[in-house]
Amino acid sequence: DAGVTQSPTHLIKTRGQQVTLRCSPKSGHDTVSWYQQALGQGPQFIFQYYEEEERQRGNFPDRFSGHQFPNYSSELNVNALLLGDSALYLCASTWGEAEAFFGQGTRLTVV
């Protein structure tokens, strides 16, 4: 079992650009959540996808959007990047009432 996999592991973008991060959930999991972890902070919930729909959303602007595919994988898109978007982006997957499993994260640096 590969667990939750995220790609890429690192990337550098320029202010104003757009970025797409990808997540493949753990086998058997159908729900994907995304978290942003700024340096020195705990993860903050961005949104959750289930059955290809955004089911719940945290306090993030509309520049943050996502998608879930029929195979349960997910993408996080961020438009008009700001320096403050620099962070570790974590994907977590779950199924039913099981606990969440996290991926290794994507480190985004905005310059």
Binding site: V4, Y35, G58, A92, E97
Partner: protein, 114 residues
């Protein structure tokens, strides 16, 4: 408001010493509580969880935590720390099933002296 407070930003202990990391939460419903560990540049690994029942829960790597409803606390303990335990530890509260977002504390960074 739902929140998690980890009062200690940094803790340093000697190898072999005991450890207690504090966690206090505010949550409107019955809480499901978690402790995760994060090594540098890595994702989060679940150490243990509390859903219901026995308030003392055992986790991986020799960790345990005690849920105290009256104090809204869920402190993490380990009787003897190993150098490999150096990492950042996060307490989280949430629900399971649908809408199961987690609310995390700011974390406690643990350093272990030989």
């Amino acid at each position: 408001a739902q929140s998690v407070t980890q009062p200690d930003i940094h803790i340093t202990v000697s190898e072999g010493a005991s450890l207690e990391l504090r966690c206090n939460y505010s949550y409107g419903a019955t809480p499901y509580l978690f402790w995760y560990v994060q090594s540098p540049g890595q994702g989060l690994q679940l150490l243990l969880k509390y859903f219901s029942g026995d308030t003392l829960v055992q986790g991986i790597k020799g960790f345990e935590a005690e849920f105290k409803r009256s104090q809204s606390s869920f402190n993490l303990r380990k009787p003897s720390v190993h150098w490999s335990d150096a990492a950042e530890y996060f307490c989280a509260v949430g629900r399971l099933g649908g809408y199961n977002k987690l609310i995390f504390g700011a974390g406690t960074r643990l350093a272990v002296h030989p």
